[in-house]
Amino acid sequence: MPTRWFGERIPRNEDPRLLTGRGMYVDDVRRPGTLHAAFYRSPHAHARILRIATDQAKALPGVVAVVTAQDLPERIRGPLPKLIPHPALVHHKTQVALAGEVVRHVGEPIALVVAESRYIAEDALELIAVEFEVLPAAVDLEAAAKPGAPRVHADMADNIAAHHIQRAGNVEEAFAKAPHVFRERFTMDRGSSAPMETRGVVAEWDPRSHQLTVWDSTQAPIRIRNYLSDLLGLPQANVRVIAPDIGGGFGPKIMMCYPEEISIPWAAMVLERPVKWIEDRREHFVATNHERLQIHDAEIAVDADGRILGVRTTYLHDCGAYCAYGLTVPIVSGTTLPGPYKIPNYHAEYRAVFTNKTQTSPYRGAGRPHGVFVMERLMDRVARELGIDRAEVRRRNFIQPHEFPYDLGGLIYQDGVRLVYDSGNYPEVFRKTLDHIGYADWAAQKARHRREGRRVGLGFAFYVEGTGIGPYEGCRITVEPSGKVYVATSVGTQGQGHYTSFAQIVADALGTDVRDVIVTTGDSGAFGWGTGTFASRAAVVAGNAVALAAGAVRQKTLQVAATLLEARGDDLELAEGKVFVRGVPGRAVMLGQVAAAANPLRGVIPQEWEGPGLEATRYFAPPSGAFAAGCHAALIEVDTETGLIRFLRYVVVHDCGPVINPMILEGQVRGGVAQGIGNAFYEKLVYDEQGQLLTQTFMDYLLPTVAEVPAVEVDHVETPSPLNPLGIKGAGEAGVIPVPALVASALDDALSEEGVRITEMPLSPSRLREILREAQTAPTPA
């Protein structure tokens, strides 16, 4: 089947709408009679609620309702659903819709105000009086992990939600016999995905038809629909959840059953008026899940040639006050850490710890940045200690192209499946990267810079990324008599271009123009079985479902057209929106005509059609994840007097198998790199000792602007995955994953004279100068 669209950098179908301001984000949803909601949120990190006084708020003109936990029906008063259970997750604590007895983090919602406008609702918040008994807060991660720390959950003996070990081989033996062992501690601090669009929910209840419609800025509309159905006691068929245009997701919008996602629809049902809640930016910082804080103690055992004998890491993962989403992030850290290297003996052990801070769940990278940071820093350490070139030491340890599928020895990935890399060519990715960045020449270049008084470093970092995990996604394709093709898929879209990339797959299969393929995503009413957009899986899992459905529709089209054209299916071709007999372009019929013919008003349709219409629904359930890989390299200049850094060049070589739309892919990579740069040098959520979040605005939580992000040169290697028909691998998180490791690598190189060794992220100019000073005054390491 000839491909005309797959692989092309075609402009996106969705752009005209978005460019002209005709997108529909949740806040753009306008329903007659809408009321507006605001939440009274806990000002304390940990407190018992003694009394809530809402009378004054209720009396404010324009206020329609003030709701607290006691007003909620029992079904939604208690802890909200546990999402991803795991045997190690002994204490799977989850949040509530409205806190009635205890608050466990600043920002936890206590009361819901519904009023004629958001302005009035916020006025009413100020009239609510809550009496608290402030409790000691567990804030610092290490302190919270110790026995005797203030307990976030009173029914637990401590704050350890889970203790989980994954092993391969025999690390004890490996370390005991190793000629060299190097140890290091690594810290990555809290960050927020901070999409430009905050969260929001609009809910509308029709009491006559008993239909609940919810617009939700979520990455998982179908699953939200299922939870709402369950929690509100409604048939799934009566609940429709639409994720309209979403202004960026990046992970935290996949969290399900945020308190507001439940209380707002419930309020709409009770009040019988649409209710809208749009999170403001300050709310977002405390109410939408965070991620990133983990502390790793790691060690690597190598032989005299730098070959890895074993790697061991024990780490603490900060759950925040709850862990509804489960252990995905620390599991992914532990299973991403091995990376592209052969590690015969491995031990990853973590404790997931509750703290009195906002809950955490995956944010782009989802634990992979930590694994990569640890492993790549250890490799650089080995190189330095043994005097081996840092590229060479990696080459000596790479899994080789002929060694796939590569089994990591019994580790279990986030999908519950044994960790096996499907395909890859790490040496080639690495070679291209080093080539592009000019590594061979670097020593001389660096010396030249140095003579000019400039401190420039070259860094690189390699990663392997598990993508495209199950359980499944689906797609239904329908050709209408107009000839246009309608595609409904189960995943939502937050800017990744599914309206275009999926259309490209379909257009190829059916021989239509990509602009005649209209994709609907993120609407449980259009497609009701699916999981969501996360973990770099939409293109792989939904994309393959799209391909399977498209293939089925193609077959049906040939079948029906064969009848119309009185030809054999084998002799037919699809192109330019038509079906025609190969070699006889005159004997053709429009795709729309075939669709019409497949749905006759009267008569008989053949058994082999298996029903009317040019329509098919297919699912793709991958047996395991597909493993993408890549390497980033950069030149970074440091002003040692001010601690400011500047990227001189930034290179990415990326392998996600065949690429549907290179323009979209590069956009994903570049966007990820920008977030990674944020993680490395700008973005840090800072809590004080009382658990107050000090960074609640964009003045303090600093997102990189155009001035801070370099132009990124992107090149590709393609190793198809044998695990799915399209052979593709995911790419959504590729840009962000290795950036902290890369920045550390480059800074170590730039500041090699001082012996700087970066082991923490994020940095800042101030912290970098501190590190420099510490390195300058430290005794020379043995």
């Binding site: 916020e122 001010t642 601690g643 840090k684 605005t697 600093l702 602007t705 001035a707 100019p765 101030s766």
Partner: protein, 291 residues
């Protein structure tokens, strides 16, 4: 993030503004560019009962030379200052510093007077005013007074402005020939408030520093003049060594705070670096050559 209720009035003259402020006193707040005030209103960190919008008083926006000062109306938009060839020529320190104030979209609305009256400890214009010993003209019902920066800046986000007073004009001295100026700053990102900023003025007499001024931002509750270092610079030779020593001395006397963005130590160290760089630049621009 919606502001708390307030009432709004838009006077057409300074007299009317003063009368309104007299009427509403501490409950009233002047709204100029709004780039600093409105975020505070939206976050309900400021809750004035009455907003007095002076953006309609066009007579308060001007840039005019009078004797040896450039008079800048308080309501002059930062963007106008940025684009003014007059400012670039006659008060180059102001022209240089204004480009560090936020972003173009901020400067479209932000005003010179507003930035000074807001007195953010990390803002650029207070340091410029301090380095130049600009006069800040304040009008009250009882008349007009011209304050020095030392008199005007009273602490963290605090000025000597009474609730019933309006800053109407800032008079920047046009410096004599053979005077060079420089504004340098370090910020986390381009356009952010300064972690540390320095405004330097150096007047040259052949190879000697006749007079020097050094004002810092980001290292105290308001702009800080390094008078000790200034005293030592006066009469010294214009050499790199002299500038470095003066910068170090100036920085050593600073008492900055630590916050989530930078430690006090960092601010002090970078203050020394930037002061040195600013002095060198100012010296070069005065026509001097570095030795």
């Amino acid at each position: 993030m919606k502001p708390a209720p307030f009432r709004y009035v838009a006077p057409r003259s300074v007299d009317e503004t003063l009368a309104l402020l007299a009427e509403h006193g501490a409950e009233g707040k002047i709204l100029a560019g709004g780039q600093s005030l409105v975020p505070l209103l939206n976050m309900r960190l400021a809750r004035p009962q009455v907003i007095v919008d002076i953006n309609g008083i066009r007579s308060l926006a001007y840039i005019r030379r009078k004797d040896d000062h450039l008079h800048v109306g308080a309501l002059t938009r930062q963007r106008a200052v940025e684009e003014s060839a007059t400012v670039r020529r006659q008060v180059p320190l102001l022209g240089e510093a204004i480009r560090f104030v936020g972003h173009p979209q901020i400067r479209t609305r932000g005003t010179v007077g507003g930035s000074l009256a807001h007195a953010d400890p990390s803002a650029e214009l207070p340091a410029v005013a301090a380095a130049l010993d600009a006069e800040l003209v304040v009008r009250s019902p009882s008349g007009e007074r011209a304050l020095s920066p030392g008199e005007f800046f009273a602490g963290y986000l605090t000025t000597a402005l009474e609730p019933t007073e309006v800053l109407t004009e800032i008079r920047f001295p046009v410096l004599p020939e053979r005077t060079g100026t420089a504004f340098v700053e370090v910020a986390r990102r381009h356009g952010d408030f300064a972690l540390v900023g320095v405004a330097a003025v150096v007047r040259r007499s052949d190879g000697t520093i006749a007079e020097a001024r050094l004002a810092f931002t980001g290292v105290g509750p308001g702009p800080v003049r390094a008078r000790g270092a200034e005293g030592r610079l006066a009469g010294s030779a214009g050499t790199s060594r002299v500038f470095a020593d003066a910068a170090r001395e100036a920085a050593a006397r600073l008492d900055p705070e630590s916050d989530i963005h930078a430690t006090a130590q960092y601010r002090r160290d970078v203050a020394a670096t930037l002061a040195r760089r600013a002095l060198e630049l100012a010296w070069q621009r005065s026509g001097g050559r570095s030795r």
